[in-house]
Symmetry: C2
């Protein structure tokens, strides 16, 4: 019996092949240009689950589309994930990605930033290949979705970064949800599913339902990801544990903790979270985590994630 | 009589209007998202000549095309210039751009990097508008040119950055030309002209000739730009004087100087150029400039620029 996991691996393998064969220099160039392509191939070569391209292919199948029509678009979703991770890792000053040093830690920030741009453009270049596969109108519709997806993602990333920079704490659950829908939901669930549906020629009302579904499930996904950053196994997770605390991220877990803590605890938590990454001590991080334990903040957030997942699935049940 | 300068200003005004009206948030969002759009509108709102969009519109005119068909593409060329400058300024650690602080100096590097990505995606989103103006095939052809243009530009930027990082000095004129063709010529001359020709429906042989023309003229342009960084008026030039020396850039001027200098001078020059930006003193910069004077390095480079310009114009003369 083929499990969902096997299927996801199979799609990922085909997507990887498409991606890596598209990231090659035109001709034997200079050693510098060769290095650029090596950098562009780095994140795509690291182990990853490939959930997003799988969502695209699976939705296309559900809507009656063939894999041959959806795989290129799925590969471009994975390309998106890769270039934006290169840039996010610079913006968040992350040290690890998928179990290895972040690209800007292996090379320089300048070279990594530039490689991210090169990969971004490769994504759009690859999307042009849809004209032959799907015809011009569908190929255009796919690119419109990508334009919206990048737009939402950069808006969400801006929100999260500026909350930290401006030391903003006047935030509630709904602020977190709005940021998450933009930063995570669009590119993690809503657009991958909608792109599968577009490729398969689904109607606009299906796209609308997939949007509602995807925005909710994407938030549930982000909450689980936030939780793994606190309680997960670093080796399995691929990112450094407690990175979110070091980066000062306003997760639902943290916002709940601040709401539950008493005034004195809250003051200490904010003082710690407002410190720049390099100034946060191990004791600081341990204190935040111990308070999260005490107030069952991870449990609260996971409960919310489950509710959102149920709501999302009920929307999916309503699609004809 | 309408001068070329007036015409360039007129095109720039129309392009600016198109750009600024396209960079607006979907709906009244949060203050954070509003700030992102403010950042995206910042460089496009600063004074600039608009040479690249003008080259596109002028070439389209020469090939029998109407301005209404070329202006959107011209605006996207200017969008390209704006997002890549945001990122280049981060990569080069530039402090000034168009007479004001670089975007990452006004905000943070993270927010500026992200705003550059958002503007990059806006460019591709805007290019989709060509489907209605030009029909699908020409709209696709335009996007293929953009994909190539970004690709060449990032390859050139990578070459230049890694020469500095790796302290490479085993470079000659032809290395400089190759880097310049990639970093500057494509997006400054070759692609703007070719895009105008594509929009006007010109033949492939015209595009080939415009490539040869553009690659040469672009190098001439870059040499002039390098010269202005040494001898230009900072106020008029908009960038900080001698920035190239501070950044350690391998300009033709510098490479000629290293070739002309004696062994002892060469050693001192390389020692200075290898220092990181923050370690270079005013005396260091003054020494490099005085040596450039002594060896007439700027004069040499400008002579090369003139030769290249003549060669470029002779190609243009050969187009039917």
């Amino acid at each position: 019996m083929t499990t969902l996991e096997d299927e996801m691996k199979r799609v990922k393998a085909r997507v990887d092949e498409m991606i890596l064969s598209s990231i090659l220099p035109e001709s034997s160039n200079t050693p510098e240009v060769d290095l650029l392509y090596k950098m562009m191939r780095d994140y795509p070569s690291r182990q990853a689950k490939g959930m997003r391209p799988f969502l695209c292919v699976a939705t296309a199948r559900a809507a009656g589309g063939k894999d041959e029509s959806s795989l290129l678009t799925a590969a471009c979703i994975e390309l998106f994930q890769n270039w934006i991770l290169i840039h996010d890792d610079i913006e968040d000053r992350s040290e690890l990605r998928r179990g290895a040093p972040a690209l800007h830690r292996m090379y320089s920030e300048g070279l990594a930033l530039n490689a991210g741009d090169a990969l971004h453009a490769k994504m759009w270049g690859a999307l042009l290949g849809n004209a032959e596969l799907l015809g011009f109108p569908a190929a255009f519709r796919v690119m419109q979705e990508f334009a919206m997806m990048v737009n939402e993602t950069t808006e969400g990333q801006h929100m999260e970064l500026s909350w930290v920079e401006k030391k903003r704490w006047d935030l509630d659950e709904s602020d977190y949800y709005q940021m998450c829908r933009k930063k995570t939901s669009w590119y993690t669930v809503a657009s991958p599913c909608r792109l599968g549906a577009i490729v398969a020629g689904a109607d606009e009302n299906v796209l609308e339902a997939l949007k509602d579904f995807g925005l909710k499930l994407g938030v549930a996904f982000q909450i689980q990801d936030d939780a793994l950053n606190i309680v997960g196994d670093q080796k399995k997770y691929g990112k450094a544990s407690s990175d979110d605390i070091l980066e000062g991220k306003r997760t639902l877990i943290l916002l709940h903790l601040l709401n539950s803590a008493d005034a004195q605890e809250r003051k200490r938590l904010k003082t710690i979270m407002n410190k720049p990454r390099a100034k946060k001590t191990k004791q600081d991080v341990a204190y935040v985590i111990s308070m999260m334990d005490e107030h069952d903040a991870v449990g609260f957030a996971r409960k919310r994630a489950n509710e959102l997942m149920k709501e999302a699935l009920s929307i999916l049940g309503g699609i004809d």
